[in-house]
Amino acid sequence: MQIPRYIATPACVLLLSCIGFAVSAEPTQLRARLLSDIRSTDPGVNRDGTTDAVVMHMVEGLVALAEDTSIAPMLAASYDVAKDGVTYTFRLRKGIQFHNGALLTSGDVVWALKRYFDPATKWRCLSEVDGRGQAKVVAVEAPNAETVVIRLERPAPLFLTMLSRPDCGGTGIIHRSSVGADGSWKGPVGTGPYKLGEWKRSQYLELKRFDKYQARSEPASGYAGGKKAEVETIRFLVVPDSSSAKAALLGGSVDILPDINESELADIQSKANIKVDISTTTSISGILFNTRDPLMRDVRIRRAIALAIDGKELVSGTTNDLAKLNNSAMPSISPFYTDVQRTGFVNNIAEAKRLLKEAGYNGRPIKILANKRYGTMYDTALIAQGLAAYAGIRLEVEVLDWATQLDRYTRGNYQMMAFAYTSRLDPSLVYDMLVGPKATQTQKVWDNPEVQALVAESMRETDKVKRQAIFDELHRRMLQDVPLIVYWNGIQITAYHKRVVGFRQWPMEHPRYWLVRMKH
């Protein structure tokens, strides 16, 4: 029997449309691996790097960090900094909705900021705004429904940079319903492209697309610009074991795997369906010296160690040739990174031996702390031990668990340690993390009042040329004082299935899954 063409054609079209509809209507989900569960969903409170990365999908601040580490407006349509440098005026975008459907007003912003500034919230960045750090907020006001004014006690050019920091939760503006009547945390009701779905602790956390999200018109850049939630749900799967995670990626149970170990790269790169993204981040890795230790307080010994360890060799061995040697605290992707920052320690065993002899070093063992949670720290300590031995320096590697090493770092209880600092947005913040009086801040590694004054000046200064000169001077002094040896900037390796489209890593390490699509 032959079906007439006038029936067959529309029938085929209808059938194909149905199939097409069925395919397009299929819910899309991106499954991403988490090394460990997040600590909470409260932005900038009870957090770690993993937590920040997830939370930043749900909340947005007044301003956000762009890819080139500049600051761009996010919930603010625009902002002004008054000539006095202490008054910040933000004009809010219109029609922005929270995940519960409520419209964003200046009153919500004031409430959210005041909550962060309340010590009871335990916000990580409180000390940055209460006068202990770079800024002191004296008032947060809402002169009308669309304007927010923040007044500082004194000018703080890095104030907006601080507000956008991921470890501060991007100072994400949340709705009042995020907390209970007693102030206890319930869950983030933010304005981000995704909202909180189901969280099964130690198993997975699911984010759902926020359909009423209003993207900015600018192109996406870092945490700023236009975001678009392409996949309907993002499921973050907690897979602590790296072998199981790799098997899950290859077996198709996971779509994307951030934080691949350097040693696993070659194997995973050889798989046909897997793509790999390798990028340099702004974190810094190296070796810290405790300049209060009786032995390590002698700059000649610290310098001898720096000259004895062949940096290129160490970086190559630790990162499988993925990273490049950078002896500067300034990340190599920073606009302030120039030829001055490219200078560093040149391997010189003879000079190292001479300095050791001059300092009266008699082969006494020096303990270098490391841990196995972060494999590169362990490898750094081992390779440094081997290379330092050429100059007759006896390094003894002491392996601790991460919590213990962090405690020893905080208390300044070590001789040397392999360590890595998380990304900081501005070079001043990097130096601020390292420099300070050890008498009151035992975690600081560089105790030098002149250097402290330079760092403070770099924070006050807004002129780019003058800031560059300060950073150049800081680098030269760091090579002289040798309070630490920076070796390389972090490497972020992400492996993902070829059906994942649009994923791109960026210098701040935290993966961003808006704009990521799934190919059927």
Binding site: S36, D37, R39, S40, N46, R47, D48, P119, A120, K122, R124, L126, S127, R132, G133, D167, W185, K200, R201, S202, Q203, Y204, L237, V238, V239, P240, D241, S243, S244, A245, A247, A248, L250, G251, S253, V254, R373, L400, D401, W402, A403, T404, L406, D407, R408, Y409, T410, Y421, T422, M433, T440, Q441, T442, Q443
Partner: protein
């Protein structure tokens, strides 16, 4: 019998007290600060001190202990410092996962080990015996994480029969939930079968040398009857003791397997809590484990009279 059980339970109180004191002190003796871990690097010392105060960590250790112990006596194990969850419900939730895996795995291991051990003893020093002993030695020598990974790669990745990561509670879907539990159960069962087979074989060899076994054979009892009615009950008693110890040990956590198979069990909870210096969770986990250990061994002791009527609870 009831008096015996009550007496045994009362005897656990000093044990739990000692466990509580030692766990409370030891976890605080090791370096590491939950407030520091919560805030991360580069935080202001004043702010760190303030958060420590809010968490009650600035109090002298004996005051912290008295506060914790008084809450424990009221059935309150406190809340997690990491995420604010109540510890007791968290323990029960996680124990369900570990409990299912461990109990099914030990039962499966016994199902393999008892006949294999009996058979090996019956064929002592012959090829079958040597093969069983060799195989069980190999099994108990295999590291659980290695076997787990091999099974994961074979059945999850290569054959694609079972899921590689994830977990679905049995209460949500029995069939789907079991697919996530098959591999951890098989891994654990295979390894424990090795230990139990050797124990069962050794006990059976011991028992079959006794005069009453020779007497049974002289009476003309079949070999099957001698094995099952005369040797098995007496030979099983030492194996049962070992089962009690194994169960107590495993129920306290199979952290390595839970990590490989991404199971949200008690072992992973404990390991994560130690790394995060989450004191209430560590204390709760270890106290709970000690209690489970005591209860399982009490249950094992109560089972002895079923195997050997000469042994009574009194």
């Amino acid at each position: 019998m009831v008096r015996y059980i009550i007496r045994r339970l009362l005897m656990t109180l000093p044990t739990l007290f000692l466990v509580g004191v030692s766990v409370f002190s030891l976890i605080r003796l090791i370096p590491g600060d939950p407030a520091q871990l919560m805030l991360g690097d580069g935080v202001d010392p004043g702010q760190l001190a303030e958060v420590r105060r809010q968490m009650g960590l600035d109090q002298p250790i004996h005051i912290q202990f008295v506060e914790w112990a008084s809450k424990v006596l009221r059935g309150d194990l406190g809340v997690s410092l990491s995420d604010g969850q109540a510890v007791l419900p968290l323990l029960f939730e996680r124990f369900q996962v570990s409990g299912v895996v461990v109990i099914i795995a030990v039962m499966a291991a016994l199902t393999i080990a008892v006949p294999a051990g009996l058979f090996a003893a019956h064929k002592q020093n012959r090829a079958a015996d040597i093969s069983i002993v060799a195989l069980s030695t190999v099994l108990l020598s295999i590291p659980s994480f290695w076997l787990g990974l091999i099974l994961l790669l074979a059945f999850g990745l290569e054959l694609g029969w079972l899921p590689v990561v994830g977990y679905v509670p049995l209460s949500t879907s029995l069939s789907k939930g079991m697919t996530f539990l098959v591999l951890p159960i098989v891994t654990l069962a295979v390894i424990e079968a090795g230990v139990l087979t050797r124990m069962m074989r050794a006990s059976a060899i011991e028992v079959q040398r006794l005069e009453y076994v020779t007497h049974a054979r002289a009476k003309g009892a079949s070999e099957w009857r001698v094995l099952t009615r005369h040797i098995l009950p007496n030979a099983f008693a030492p194996t049962l003791t070992l089962v009690g110890l194994i169960l107590g040990n495993l129920l306290g956590g199979i952290a390595v397997l839970e990590t490989v198979f991404t199971l949200p069990g008690l072992g992973r909870l404990l390991v994560d809590a130690i790394f995060a210096r989450d004191y209430p969770v560590v204390q709760g986990c270890l106290l709970f484990t000690a209690l489970i250990y005591v209860l399982v061994n009490l249950l094992v002791d109560l089972c002895y009279p079923l195997l050997d009527p000469r042994v009574t609870a009194e």
